[in-house]
Symmetry: C2
Subunit: 397 residues, 2 copies
C-alpha cells in the first residue's frame, strides 16, 4: 500500500473513532510477518518483530511503541506523530502511555464475526490483559470490529479508482479466456492459460493459485472452492470460471459462464437459457435494492428466494462479500442467516463499500451457471463496477 | 511443503502427543489465507475458508471437519483419515466428534511465549469456547505450545538435508557479495546486488525484502532490523551483512563481516582485529557448550558475559533463535531473561533442532562486527551447518 494511501487511512481512522465515539484503538502485534494482523498493511505497511503497539486516538494523537531495533524503520515511514523504542519489555512504556491518556475504552483487534478485525492472537490477548491488569485497565477492552469494518469498507476515491482498473483488467483476461475454451481442453489447461495471461501483465492472483482461477466444465464438478481438474470441456457443457487479480494491492473477483454448442445447435438448449436468465435476473434484482442502510441478509434473501422459487436448489454459500485489499474484505456481507457467519449478515450496508453478487444454480446434465459482478455502493443505490454478463456466451463446438 | 514432508510431520505429531501424554490437538482456523495459523502449512499445506478443525489424536486418529465447498480439496490432499463437510455451522459436527472422543485435555494453538504456537486468534478462541461450553468441555483447553515447539524444532533427516543446502547456497551468495563490496558502493547497491543473485537462482528471501539483506557499513549505522541506506562504503569501514534465503520452503539466516583497508594498510587495525576475535571466540564458546538439555539463556549468558567482560557494550537482542520453515522458528531460543521473551529463554534445547548464534559488538570509529552461524543439535553436542567465519575478510580499498 502506498505511503499516501496509508496516511489517508490513518486520517480516516481518526474520523471513524470520532463518529463512533471511541477513544482509542490499539493494534498490538509481534513477529507480524509470521502472525499477520490483516490491519497492519493499512495502518503501517511494515512489519514488527518484537511486541509493538500502534495507537490511534480520537483526539488525533497517533503513537507507536516498538522494539528499539525497529525504531529507525518506524521513523522512516513517518506515519505516527509519537514514536518510541524499548529493549527489554514493552510493559512499562505501554502502561505509562495508557495511564497518561486514560481512555474510557480501548478497542483491540478481535472479532468473532470478521476475520479482518480478528488479527490479535489469543496469546497476545493474554499478554495485553496482564499488562492492563497492573494498571486496573483490564475491563476497558472492546472489539475494534466496527472501526475496522468501516475503515476497510469505505473506499476513498483513490482506492475506488484502483478497483475499477482491477475489474477492467480482469474482464479483459476473461475475454481472452473465452477465445481459448473449446472441446478437448481441460480445466487445468484453461486455468494455466489464464494464469499465464495474468503473469504476462505482472498481476498477482487475488487468492490461492490452486483455485485461482477455479474452472468448472460440465455437470458433476467439484465444490466452489476446488481447484481445476483434468476434466475436459465437451460439447453440451456449461463452463464457468471464478477469477480475480491483485492490482496495485487491491483485489478483483468475478465469474463468467459459457455454453459449448453441440453439433447442430446455434443456441443453448432452453433449460440452459432459463437457468442463465434466472441468475442474470437475480443479480439485477439485488442491484435494484442494494443501497446504504439495508442488511446484507435481506439482499441474500432476494436472490436465494428467487432462485429457489424458480425451481432450483439453494446455493450452498453466501450471495456476496466485500472486496478490497483482500478478496473477502470488510465486515458485513450479503450473507444468509447461518451461524457460521456470526453477525455479519445483519450489518448494514454503507456508502462507498464494494460488494460481489454471485449466486449460482445447477442445470441438470449441463453444469453450473454462475456470474459474479462487483458493485460500488453510492449515496442512494449501487453502481456496477463490472459490466454485468447479460447474455450466455456461446462456444462453437 | 511437499506432501511427503507433511505426512512425516503428522506422523511425528502423533508420536509427540504420546511422548507428552496429550490426548488431542485441535487446530481451529477460518479464512486461513488471511488469518494464517503458522502450523497449517506443516499439517495441511492448503487453506480453509470456513471455520475448519484439524484434529490429531494420541491414538493416531486424524480427523478434519471443513466447509462443504472445500471438502474435495481436503479429500485430494489425502492426509486425514476421517474427513467431513458442513454447510451452515461447524458446531454440531465438531461437538459430536469431541463428545465421541471425550479427551481429558484439548491442546489448541495459543501461546504467550511462542508466536508459532499462537495461531489461534482471540475471536476464534471465543467461538470455540462457546461451542465447548455447550458440551461442558470449556475447561479442557490447554496450550499446544510444547507440541508445536517439538514438532517444528525437531528436524527430520529430509528437512535437515534441505537446510544444509540452504546454508550452502547462502554462503555462495555471501562469497560473491564479498567481491562486489568496494569503496563508493552504497548499502542499497550491495543489497540490490545480493537480491539479484538470489533472484537469478529463483530463491525467495528468508524475510521481508526491505531488510533482507540488511547491509551496514561503517560506524553509526541504523538498528539491526533496518533496511540498507544510501550510505557508501569507505576505506576504514567494517561492513556487515545479514541475509538468508528460502530454499524448498526452509530458511537460512547468516551474517558475515568484512573490513575495507585504508591506504597503506595490509591488515585491519588492532582494535578491529580484537573486536572480530571476540565475536568469533564467543560463538565458538557457545558451540562448545550447546547440547540437548541446556537452557537457551545459559548459552546467551556465555556469549553476552564474554563480550561484556572483554569491554564491549551489551548487544540489544538475543544470541540466537531456531530456524526452519520460518526464519524465527520453533519454541525456545538462545535468549536473555528479558520479559518480552516470555518462557522461551528457559526451554531446554532438544536434539535435531537448528539454532543461529549471532552476537555482535561495535568497534568505535569502524562499525559493527557480527557473524551469524547455524548449528544443528546432535545427541551430545552441536555441529556447524555453516562453515564458521574464522578470519576477518579484507577488502582492498
Amino acid at each position: 500500500m502506498s505511503h499516501s494511501l496509508i496516511k489517508e487511512k490513518i486520517d480516516q481512522a481518526v474520523k471513524i473513532l470520532n463518529e463512533k465515539d471511541a477513544d482509542m484503538w490499539l493494534t498490538f502485534v509481534r513477529e507480524s510477518s509470521t502472525a499477520k494482523d490483516p490491519i497492519l498493511e493499512i495502518i503501517a505497511g511494515i512489519n514488527f518483530t518484537w511486541q509493538s503497539a500502534l495507537i490511534i486516538n480520537k483526539d488525533g494523537d497517533t503513537t507507536a511503541i516498538v522494539g528499539s531495533i525497529e525504531l529507525d524503520n518506524l521513523k522512516n515511514i513517518n506515519l505516527y506523530s509519537n514514536v518510541s523504542g524499548y529493549v527489554q519489555s514493552i510493559r512499562e512504556p505501554l502502561t505509562d502511555y495508557l495511564k497518561k491518556k486514560n481512555p474510557q475504552k480501548i478497542a483491540i483487534n478481535y472479532s468473532q464475526n470478521s476475520v479482518l478485525a480478528d488479527g490479535l492472537t489469543h496469546g497476545m490477548y493474554l499478554i495485553l490483559k496482564d499488562y492492563l491488569k497492573e494498571i486496573g485497565f483490564e475491563d476497558k477492552l472492546i472489539s475494534s470490529e466496527e472501526i475496522i469494518s468501516s475503515l476497510r469498507g469505505r473506499k476513498s476515491p483513490a482506492e475506488l479508482s484502483i478497483m475499477r482498473d482491477a475489474v477492467k483488467e480482469t474482464l479483459r483476461i476473461f475475454n481472452e479466456a473465452g477465445n481459448f475454451i473449446r472441446p478437448g481442453v481441460s480445466e487445468i489447461e484453461i486455468a494455466d492459460f489464464i494464469k499465464a495471461l495474468a503473469k504476462v501483465d505482472g498481476y498477482e492472483l487475488a487468492w490461492d493459485e490452486d483455485h485461482c482461477p477455479a474452472v468448472f466444465t460440465g455437470p458433476d464438478t467439484q465444490g466452489a472452492h476446488s481447484g481445476p481438474t483434468e476434466k475436459k470441456v465437451e460439447k453440451g457443457h456449461l463452463v464457468n470460471i471464478d477469477f480475480g487479480i491483485k492490482y496495485n494491492g487491491y483485489c478483483s473477483d468475478l465469474q463468467r459462464t459459457w455454453y459449448v454448442l453441440k453439433d447442430g445447435e446455434d443456441k443453448a438448449p432452453l433449460d440452459v437459457e432459463i437457468g442463465f436468465s434466472v441468475i442474470r435476473d437475480s443479480i439485477q434484482k439485488v442491484a435494484d435494492s442494494l443501497k446504504p442502510g439495508v442488511q446484507g441478509c435481506e439482499m441474500d434473501d432476494i436472490a436465494r428466494n428467487f432462485i429457489v422459487k424458480s425451481g432450483y436448489e439453494d446455493f450452498p454459500h453466501g450471495l456476496g462479500h466485500q472486496v478490497g485489499r483482500n478478496v473477502h474484505d470488510g465486515g458485513g456481507g450479503l450473507l444468509p442467516r447461518w451461524e457460521r457467519y456470526g453477525n455479519t449478515p445483519y450489518i448494514k450496508v454503507e456508502e462507498s463499500q464494494v460488494y460481489t453478487i454471485e449466486p449460482r444454480l445447477k442445470v441438470d446434465g449441463y453444469g453450473t451457471v454462475t456470474m459474479e459482478e462487483e458493485v460500488f455502493i453510492t449515496k442512494e443505490g449501487c453502481e456496477f463496477l463490472s459490466k454485468p454478463q447479460k447474455e450466455l456466451m456461446l462456444i462453437k463446438g
